[in-house]
């Protein structure tokens, strides 16, 4: 149920949103950004939008709405439903027998790899994390009004909360999303950012340790 009043200013909400979008960063400076990305510079915001091939306000709003309603998880879930219909032995044999030049072979390998690891929403964490980060960038660049940006961010946060059971599952969903989109069957993202993800989950000062996964996101709760 949507809240009647936006309550972004509550400390718990700010921390929760910061923790959700913290996973979007990677490599050496990732943890620094994870802690302090609430107020990104204009230059960084423009860079983020460019990375996502977003050139103007309309494209940004379309992308954010698409990430909330559909996202890349649709394609992942389509393959997931397809593979889940097969028996265990048939599924393995089917993927192994696919020719190397099959257009979806890598994606099928990845979906199979994450099949029993992720909840039914699959890689939705990737969509929601980017939705929040892009909303921040849009707010900073003046493409979005504050209320509008907060509404998008809280919508994504609520969906993420429903889709996953905790922070570790959320990170796994996000990384699976990156692997699926590349697609990368050598799992380099997890390899390169192992320390970062561990610290996000284990450090006392990490935003993920400062806010409970089940924090109430509605104003009347």
């Amino acid at each position: 149920m949507a809240p009647t009043v936006l309550t972004y200013n509550q400390k718990g909400h700010r921390l929760f949103l910061r923790a959700l979008s913290s996973v979007c960063f990677s490599k050496s400076g990732a943890y620094y950004y994870a802690l302090y990305h609430e107020n990104l510079s204009r230059r960084t915001c423009l860079f983020l939008l460019k990375e996502k091939q977003i050139t103007d306000k309309t494209a940004l709003i379309d992308t954010i709405k698409w990430l909330i309603s559909e996202g890349k998880r649709e394609e992942f879930n389509r393959l997931r439903h397809f593979l889940f219909t097969f028996s265990e032995s048939e599924r393995t044999a089917y993927i192994q027998a696919l020719p190397e030049d099959h257009q979806s072979k890598s994606q099928l390998i990845l979906v199979d790899y994450y099949l029993r690891c992720l909840p039914s929403e699959g890689i939705a964490a990737h969509d929601y994390a980017w939705c929040i980060l892009l909303s921040r960038a849009g707010l900073k660049l003046g493409y979005l009004q504050k209320d509008q940006a907060i509404e998008y961010m809280l919508s994504a946060a609520r969906l993420a909360q429903q889709a996953y059971s905790g922070w570790n599952e959320y990170i796994a969903g996000f990384v699976a999303g990156i692997d699926f989109l590349i697609p990368d069957t050598s799992f380099q993202t997890a390899k390169e950012n192992r320390g970062f993800y561990t610290k996000l989950l284990a450090s006392r000062h990490s935003p993920m340790r400062q806010v409970d996964w089940n924090v109430a996101l509605n104003s009347n709760e």
Partner: protein
């Protein structure tokens, strides 16, 4: 004669009917025996299919002369010849019909139909490989399979091996696709490419209309692949109502119920499956998922252990077991389990994040231990979590520090310090440090003893009630080389009074402290005027070395002036000179601005360091 007459049917949009007619006529107009008739038939067939696809069967199309058709349709003028030819045709027709009768017979017997050896035997029949009959056999068989399609995967593979339909359709789609309906072509490809459902479990079902059941099961299977849950549910339910002991159907139902969130129904389907065919691992895989999702962690764990006893390297089950162990609080076992996963898959994100979660939980547990035992445990756990030691932390701090920001801020701070210092010296004659030193520990120059204790560059508060202007002034000139030369002018001396209409840079005074005479230099004109009027000094001053030639000037003045007599009995301090500074109570605006800017920059620098520190600490 029109295309429909050649085919021997009424105009129709039903492609299947056109195909049937074509294959029937093909037996009469074989390409080798009757190339013209075959050509005519082929053209008629192509035209009819195109017209049917367009939905325009009234289109006239090519017409064929009766003369060309004489061997087929009209009453033959030469009865004997025609009879001979008809007999020949009958000889040709028989093997194809006979073959198709065998196909139909095989298909109608379900137990035989599902045995690929039977099809292998049948399709190795000479007629299939005979060049004369091959096309007739293919078209007729394909037509038959459009309506009778429920065969095991191995049979389809053998059919493709014999006829290479897909291979040829890929090479020349326009030609080959005419024989396939689009729907059947996709069905055919799916049978070859994707896992298929099993047939063996339904062969003993009594009074089952196999094709109706299999059609419903297949529809449900495809709908489930596409996540069309409404169609899947309906088809699987209908199939289940016909026959409830098919393991594949039960597995599909279990998957359907799971997607619908109907976990109890899913569990019931799995348990029924286990009763029918306990060897299938899928029952246990799905049941472990259901138990975990319904928070029956003990049952889920036991199920996982059973699966792993049969499939030790099953990743999905290892992961689920880990999750169950976490939920049951068996953190050590869970850790061991995830480490096992990492041995096989070092970059498994589920294992990485779960281990981080487990170990941070262990840290929280360890904190509840007695003080003396917890320290080493926590230290060991943090090490496992990747917490660096002191040197590692320093290295990490350096790596994380935003160096460009720090260098830029430090440069600006240094620049502001220079500006502030210059501004302060200009305003007060004191450096900021000297000023602060005098403020914190003020030294009053009240006696000779204090004067003797003061060293060069020291600052003291000069508070002297009676001072006299010596008439000596200082002039500083800058040479072309940039060097500054200092000269003194004494207005009481004839030889040393050389300056005319030039503003001096300093005025010298003399004052008595106890029984010593000390020379003071005032650099500010206003202050000098003020002192001259009041004969009183109350300002900070710095002790500096007396310029070498100055004592002579002073001595001369004291000798020739009236006030000099007051200093005759005193001891003249020749090595120290006091430079008096003009410190007013007015706020030095520039210095304040620079100070505020400096404070902001220092705060910014501190913030950078604190932020970096926070990223390093664990």
């Amino acid at each position: 004669m029109g295309v429909w007459e050649v085919l021997g049917i009424e105009p129709t949009e039903d492609i299947q009917s056109i195909k049937k007619a074509y294959s029937k006529k093909l037996k009469v107009h074989h390409p080798e025996d009757d190339p013209e008739g075959y050509q005519r038939l082929r053209e008629a067939y192509d035209h009819a299919v195109k017209a049917a696809k367009k939905g325009d069967i009234k289109e006239t199309g090519p017409s064929f002369s009766d003369e060309n058709n004489i061997h087929i349709w009209s009453n033959p003028p030469n009865t004997v010849e025609l009879t001979v030819e008809t007999i020949d045709r009958l000889e040709v027709i028989d093997p194809v019909d006979e073959f198709m009768e065998q196909v139909e017979e095989l298909y109608s017997d379900f137990s035989s139909r599902i045995r690929h050896e039977q099809w292998s035997k049948l399709l190795n029949n000479d007629i299939v490989w005979n060049i004369r009959f091959k096309e007739i056999v293919e078209v007729t068989l394909l037509d038959f399979l459009h309506e009778h399609r429920f065969l095991p995967k191995r049979v389809w593979e053998f059919i493709e091996y014999c006829f290479r339909w897909r291979e040829l359709a890929t090479e020349d789609p326009d030609d080959r696709m005419e024989h396939f309906t689009e729907e059947f072509y996709h069905f055919y490809c799916r049978q070859l490419d994707e896992p298929a459902l099993r047939y063996t479990f339904i062969q003993h079902a009594a009074d089952l209309d196999y094709d109706v059941f299999l059609n419903k099961r297949e529809t449900g299977y495809q709908a489930l692949k596409e996540n069309n849950l409404e169609l899947a549910g309906q088809s699987l339910d209908e199939a289940y109502a016909m026959y409830s002991d098919d393991p594949d159907l039960l597995r599909l139902q279990g998957e359907y119920f799971l997607r619908m969130g109907e976990k109890e129904s899913a569990l019931a389907a799995m348990e029924q499956g286990i009763r029918i065919y306990p060897d299938d691992i899928d029952w246990y895989l799905i049941r472990s998922r259901i138990w975990y999702e319904t928070h029956q962690f003990v049952e889920a764990k036991d199920e996982c252990l059973y699966i792993l006893s049969r499939m030790p390297a099953n990743m999905g089950t290892l992961r689920l077991l880990g999750k169950c162990l976490i939920q049951l609080g068996e953190l050590e076992k869970a850790e061991e389990n995830y480490l096992k996963i990492l041995e096989s898959f070092p970059n498994d994100i589920d294992a990485i994040t779960s281990l981080a979660h487990i170990r941070s939980e262990m840290v929280e547990r360890a904190k509840r231990r007695p003080f003396f035992t917890r320290r080493s445990v926590i230290k060991r756990l943090y090490k496992k979590l990747g917490k660096p030691n002191f040197f590692g932390s320093v290295k990490l701090f350096w790596m994380q520090l935003p160096k460009v920001g720090v260098v830029f801020t430090l440069s600006f701070i240094l620049f502001l310090h220079v500006l502030l210092s210059n501004s302060f010296i200009n305003d007060t004659g004191l450096t900021p440090i000297s000023y602060l030193k005098n403020m914190i520990h003020p030294v009053e120059l009240s006696s000779t003893e204090v004067l003797n204790q003061l060293d060069y560059s020291d600052i003291a508060q000069i508070k002297l009630p009676s001072v006299h202007f010596l008439g000596i002034t200082e002039y500083q000139a800058k040479a072309q080389t940039g060097a500054i030369s200092t000269r003194y002018n004494s207005s009481y001396s004839k030889q040393r009074n050389w300056a005319r209409s030039i503003l001096p840079t300093g005025w010298f005074y003399v004052a008595k402290i106890d029984n010593s005479s000390i020379v003071l230099l005032v650099s500010d004109a206003n202050q000098a005027v003020q002192i001259q009027k009041s004969n009183f000094i109350d300002s900070p001053g710095t002790i500096v070395k007396m310029p070498q030639e100055l004592p002579e000037y002073v001595w001369e003045v004291l000798q020739i002036t009236d006030f000099g007599s007051k200093y005759k009995d005193s001891k003249f301090v020749v090595d120290k000179l006091i430079v008096v500074h003009n410190v007013t109570n007015e706020v030095p605006v520039k210095a304040v601005i620079y100070s505020v800017l400096l404070l902001v920059l220092y705060a910014f620098l501190l913030r950078l360091f604190v932020r970096t520190y926070k990223t390093v600490r664990f």
